[in-house]
Structures are given as C-alpha cells and as structure tokens.
C-alpha cells in the first residue's frame, strides 16, 4: 500500500489567527499550536478528508529552561492514506503545564501522555489515569527536565509498591461479583517475559479487567543520551531492542546523518541493508520462538534459536560482539566488512530456510496451535491504527504500512519484495506475518548479494565526523589533531531537530533528535514501536482467558529494553 498523494497539509483556516502557526525551516511540516485549540485541531486533523492523520506516532516533551514557555509537547502524526507527516508543538509554561488530553482522538495517547507526565511533569486534563509509568512510585521530580541530576536516585521500598485493583465497568454482571478474584502476574514471571506486571480481575477463568504496569526496565536511555557525545550514544541504542540491535544503530545514525547533511558511502549502505534484514530475521525468530514456548511448543524454540546463533556468528565477525554490536557509526560503519562477509551471508542463506521450514511444518497446520492462536487477542486494522500500532502486528490486521515500502531508505526501493499482509489480526496471523517476513528478508538479502558488494570505504571521509584511519593518525600531524579533537569534543551537529524513522523489527522505529549545536544531543526521543502496542494489552486480553493473555503477549513481541528505554 504505497501512498499515492504527498501534498503538504494546508494550514487550517477556521482557527483564530495565531493559534496555529507554521514553523519554518523544519525537516517536516511543523505547526506550533496553542493548547486552547489543540483538541479541536486534532479532531479536524484526524477526520478531515484532506488531512486524515489517523496514526499518532509519538508524543514527547522537550524542555527549554531559557524560554518563557519552558516546555513543549511534541506530537508526531502520520497519515497512512496520504503518506504525509506532521509535527505539532504545543508550548506550555512551567507554572501551568497543562494540555488537553487527546486520548479520545487517538487512544495511542494514553501511555504517551503518562510518559510525558512522568518525565516532564506535563499535565493532561481529561486523562483518566495520569500516573507515573516508567519510574517507580517513590520517585520524586521529573527526570528529563534539564535541571534534574542524572544520577539522583530514589529508593523504592516494598510497602510503597502500587497495588492496583482493576474493576470492570459497572454492568449487567454485578450480581455475581463475589466470584471475582484479582491475581497478580509478574513482574518476575515466566509468562511475562521478564519485566511486565499484569494485575487481572478474573471471573472464573475469564479476565474481566486488567491493569498493566511497566517501567521495570526503565534504564534512562534518553537522559543518558543527553549526557554523552553523539558517537557515544550508539552503544546505548544497541540496548533498546536488544533482539535486533543493529537496526537501532542504523536508525540513530541515519537520523544524525540527515542532521549533518551527509550520506553513508554505498558500501556501508549495502551492508546496513543486509545486516538490518538479518537482524530482523533474528528478532522474528525470538518473537515466534517465545510465543510458541508460551503456547507449550518448546521444540520450535530450539529450532528458532539455531538461525539466531548462526547470524550471531556473522555479526560477531563484523563487529566483535554477538548481541550488542555497536557496529554502526555516524557516517557509516565502525569497521570494514570482514573479507569473507559475502561467503558467510551465502552460507546463512542456505542454513536458515530449513529451520524455518521445520517450524512451519510443525506449527503452521497444527490444530493444537491453531486452537490456541486463531482469534486470540484479535484487533481490527482500524482499531489498531487508532492505538498507534505499526509493524508486523499492524500488518497482521490488514493494514500494509511498512516504512521500507512507504518511505524507502537505504536500498529497499531497488530490490523486489513485497509486504506480507494478513487479515486475522490475531496471534496466529502475527505469527504468519513474521514467518512470511523472514522469507522476504532472505529474498532481499539474496538480491543484494547477487548485485555484488560495492567497493570503497565504509565511512564518510570527513575528519569532523569520522575518526581518521589509524595509519593516518600515527603518521600525519593533521590527522592526529583531528583525532584528538573528535574524541575530546565529539561531533558537532548543527542546531535543529529531526524525526527520522526506519522499519524496526516491531514497527516504525523513529528517532526525534534535537540539537543545540553542541557536542552532545540536546534531546533524543525514541519512538518505540512496542510502546503503543503494549498500551493496548489490557484491551486485548480482557474477555479472554489467562492462558490466552500469555500467548498474546508473546505475539506482540514486546521488548522491554525498547518499551521502557
């Protein structure tokens, strides 16, 4: 579903003068909106036939202490039919940091608004449950404010832990309320994949109400990014979605590269595309493998981990680490490809398909799996878009949005591949989309390998961005000076802001970066693809049984490192 029209959205006229102003010199259309008209504008943007901004991608706060209106809430919108992006900025003051909640317009705002409250102290009027989401209950202050000390910790003791009691909405079942039971699942529970906590109220075995608690792996990525140089942020990005860390490298590096106005050399772009696809395969293997484990199909987990181990070998040969590769650099890659890169890739293309076929043979038509997955946690395309979904899970609901097709980057527009779409919207189709995508990824890699490896360097030849080669550094005074300067001061990125995205393994992985021209990022916001999906989790599991909830969490493939950053 490639978007056909890309006409910049015209400024609406019906709002009073000065309440909606277009900001010049931005990477994408940006409107500065006064908070009084925000809700009306949002409704207009969502429903207007010429706007159709149906997807709320990201909401974040920014802090500019020197401004009169200190905080800004930044919304990133996307119109699936038009393929057009829009950024809304709503400035608010420190004294009255309130905005209207847009939860009625886009349900995706639910958790994003809670996050903005937690991190910046922005208050959203009309939000039903404006609690802290990432930090813990005993936390004080708002950590992403510029005046918050990055290392200031607060200790949580057991008596302060929040104990939710989700209550189902008042309804017809009130008479048998005495049979209800509230159970706690997680955060350390095998079904919760590590770090989520679900408190569910059960009627028999059916979940009638639930509350999801996250934040158990909030590692302060965004604050850490503000305290490190541009290049040093790369190891941190590895640990966002640690199942496919190379894609995060690429997403971050590409964003900074566009801010610098440079492009990675062809050899680096070629390698990035191939390794991104391998990373996607790894991620899908984990997602499907762990979903199947949750459903009791353990054998597939072993089969699915074999391709992963093989791909680790390739990534390790390139970068030196299996999981957290740190292979991307701003401007290219950290080191040239190993000499046997192509041979290794070819070998992987032979090794991987038998495992995928084995899993499909065990599972695809297996009625036990079908009974566990078909119709479980189903969500329609329309609803999923409203909740802010992207990626394989959205494509399982019949909406074929894929950044690689809609806004091709790297080499994706030069290869022949298609976006797999299914219409069940349930766990089973999420599984099928991932399996189909693994095959598509293999096909992309094969085509790129057939094309041949471009010659040349893997990083831009600019002493202000890339470290000079070691030989030059040892032998030439000038290179040595550049080397020292680059390490001591870091890359200097011109002031400005940029949102740029790639198709991560879970959906649109975006980076919204603000630079003030210094050696460190001013603000880095990740648009984590699984954050909106996890916010839907309560809605997905209510009405199902506990065992269905377990399978549906696996199907969403929520990666805590990315969800909570």
């Amino acid at each position: 579903m490639a978007p056909t029209v890309t006409v910049p959205t015209p400024l609406p006229e019906k709002f009073p003068e000065g309440t909606v102003v277009e900001q010049e010199g931005m990477d994408q259309p940006t409107w500065v909106v006064q908070r009084e008209v925000l809700k009306d504008l949002a409704l207009e943007l969502r429903d207007g036939p010429e706007t159709q901004f149906d997807l709320m991608l990201d909401l974040c706060g920014t802090d500019y202490p020197e401004r009169d209106q200190r905080f800004e809430a930044v919304y990133h919108l996307y119109s699936l039919p038009r393929g057009e992006r829009l950024r809304l900025k709503v400035p608010v003051t420190e004294d009255v940091p309130t905005l209207p909640s847009l939860i009625d317009v886009w349900k995706a705002c639910d958790w994003f608004e809670r996050e903005a409250w937690d991190m910046f102290g922005l208050r959203f009027d009309g939000h039903p449950n404006l609690r802290r989401i990432l930090t813990h209950e005993a936390f004080q202050g708002h950590p992403l404010r510029k005046d918050y000390d990055p290392a200031r910790r607060w200790i949580l003791t057991e008596d302060k832990i929040y104990r939710p009691h989700p209550q189902p909405p008042e309804g017809e079942d009130d008479d048998d309320i005495f049979e209800r039971m509230t159970i706690n699942i997680g955060p350390s529970h095998p079904a919760m994949h590590g770090t989520f906590r679900v408190v569910a109220t059960l009627d028999g075995e059916t979940i009638v109400a639930s509350e999801v608690e996250i934040g158990y792996l909030h590692r302060c990525f965004e604050k850490m990014a503000e305290t490190h140089t541009w290049q040093q942020v790369i190891p941190y990005t590895d640990r966002l979605n640690y199942c496919s860390s190379f894609i995060n490298n690429v997403a971050y590096c590409k964003t900074v590269e566009t801010m610098l106005g440079i492009e990675a050399p062809p050899r680096a772009v070629w390698a990035r595309t191939i390794l991104s696809e391998f990373s996607r395969i790894m991620d899908h293997c984990v997602a499907n493998g762990s979903t199947l484990v949750d459903a009791g199909a353990l054998t597939n987990f072993w089969y699915m981990f074999q391709p992963r181990e093989e791909i680790y070998g390739l990534l390790e040969a390139c970068s030196g680490a299996r999981l957290t590769v740190s292979y991307g650099r701003i401007g290219g890659l950290s080191a040239d490809l190993p000499p046997d890169f192509e041979a290794r890739c070819r070998r992987l293309l032979e090794i991987i398909p038998p495992f995928i076929d084995d899993v499909d043979g065990l599972i695809a038509k297996n009625r036990i799996w079908l009974d566990r997955s078909v119709g479980v946690a189903a969500i329609s395309g329309e609803e999923a878009v409203n909740w802010g979904w992207t990626g394989p899970c959205l494509r399982a609901s019949g909406v074929g949005y894929d950044v690689r097709k809609a806004h091709p980057y790297d080499l994706y527009d030069t290869v022949d591949w298609e976006v797999p779409i299914f219409h069940g919207g349930d766990v089973h189709d999420r599984y099928r989309v991932r399996m189909a995508e693994i095959r598509q990824s293999l096909s992309i890699i094969r085509q790129l390998l057939d094309r041949g490896m471009p010659e040349g360097p893997v990083i831009v030849d600019d002493p202000h961005i890339a470290l000079p080669s070691k030989e030059a550094c040892y032998n030439q005074m000038e290179s040595m000076i550049y080397h020292f300067k680059l390490i001591m001061d870091g890359i200097q990125v011109p002031p400005g802001e940029r949102y740029s995205m790639v198709e991560g393994a879970n959906g649109e992985l975006g980076f919204y970066i603000v630079s003030d021209g210094g050696g460190k990022p001013y603000r880095v916001k990740v648009r984590p693809p699984c954050f909106p999906m996890m916010s839907t989790f309560s809605r997905l599991i209510e009405g199902g049984t506990v065992s269905d909830a377990v399978v549906s969490l696996g199907g969403l493939n929520v990666i805590a490192g990315e969800l909570e950053r």
């Binding site: 990432l134 930090t135 813990h136 936390f139 950590p143 918050y148 000390d149 990055p150 290392a151 200031r152 910790r153 607060w154 200790i155 949580l156 003791t157 057991e158 832990i161 955060p187 350390s188 529970h189 095998p190 590590g194 770090t195 934040g215 158990y216 792996l217 909030h218 590692r219 302060c220 604050k223 850490m224 190891p235 941190y236 640990r239 640690y242 199942c243 984990v286 987990f301 072993w302 981990f305 074999q306 992963r308 181990e309 680790y312 299996r322 999981l323 957290t324 805590a560 490192g561």
Partner: protein, 170 residues
C-alpha cells in the same frame, strides 16, 4: 564415635557433590543478558551437559539465582523478595555489567549493582557476557562451592577428633 563423624562427613560430601552438579537455576532475566541466557540453555551451548538444565521460575524450587540484566530501582524490591523466597543453601550469579555494577547506566533509575540489596557469589562481566562467559562463571561458582565444602569437611573432621579427645578425657 569416629565412625559416626565419618558417616556424616561422607554424607555431607555426597550432598555437596550432588548440589554443585545439579544446580536448579532461577533465571531472573530482565534485559539483553536474558537473551544470552536463553542462548546458553538452548542447543548451541546446552547447559544440561553440566546438569544445570532444570530452569525453574519458582524461587521455592531453585538454588541458584542468575540475575541477567539491568535491575532498576523499581525492580529491586521484587528481586529482594524473590531472593528471600529461595530456600537455603542458595547462590547468586550476577550476569553482565548492569547487574554487577549498573554498567554504563549511571542513571536515576538504575541500581548500581545488585549487591546493594542481595549478596553475590560470582560476578560475570560482559555486556552481555557470551554464553561461554556465563558458563565459566557458573563453573567458577561450582569450584567455589566445592572449596567451601572441603573447608567445611575439614572443619567437621577436626571438630570430630577434638570431640573424641574430650570424650576420652571425660
């Protein structure tokens, strides 16, 4: 009297031998390290070769806790409680930089090493450690336990002979 102490030390030795050759690990996995832990137990590295494959998520059934991944301040009370629920004897392997020391997250929500709340027996560095690294750490723990058992046995032995002597004196 001598026979009795000989039997108890032999039983203790047998118990120690069984203990260190069949850990039941509790994977307290939160982040990237948990993925490598999965790699360790899956077929490429296959921890069951050492007898450590009985991965139990219930603290009541396990004797070695492998803390894999970043522990945040929000998670700390949970981890402490799970550690308390484990029956003695119990050991803790801290896997990876984050669990050992907080790693490069010197940040407002990250615990600077799990030894702030629970005792750690073996620290395995790496971010994340390779599966071999983790296995090395666990094998080191095995050695450590064997050493402590030997020391224990020695102590019991000498106490046993002391006891005999005092009995004889009496």
């Amino acid at each position: 009297m001598i026979g009795e102490s000989w039997i108890t030390t032999q039983i203790a030795a047998l118990e120690g031998w069984a203990q260190r050759n069949s850990f039941w690990p509790l994977p307290f996995g939160t982040a990237c390290c948990a993925i490598e832990f999965m790699g360790t137990v899956s077929s490429h590295y296959d921890m069951s070769r050492f007898g450590y494959e009985v991965v139990r998520f219930s603290p009541r059934q396990s004797d070695i806790m492998i803390v894999a991944g970043t522990i945040t301040d929000k998670m700390a009370p949970v981890m402490k409680r799970i550690y308390d629920q484990m029956p003695d004897p119990k050991w803790v392997v801290s896997m990876g930089a984050c669990a050992c020391s907080g790693g490069f997250y010197r940040a407002y929500h990250v615990m600077q090493g799990i030894d702030e709340v629970i005792p750690v027996d073996v620290y395995v560095p790496g971010c994340p450690p390779t599966p071999e690294g983790l296995m090395y750490g666990i094998l080191q723990l095995k050695e450590k336990i064997a050493r402590s058992h030997r020391a224990q046995a020695k102590k019991e032995d000498s106490r046993g002979t002391d006891g005999d002597r005092s009995d004889a004196a009496a």
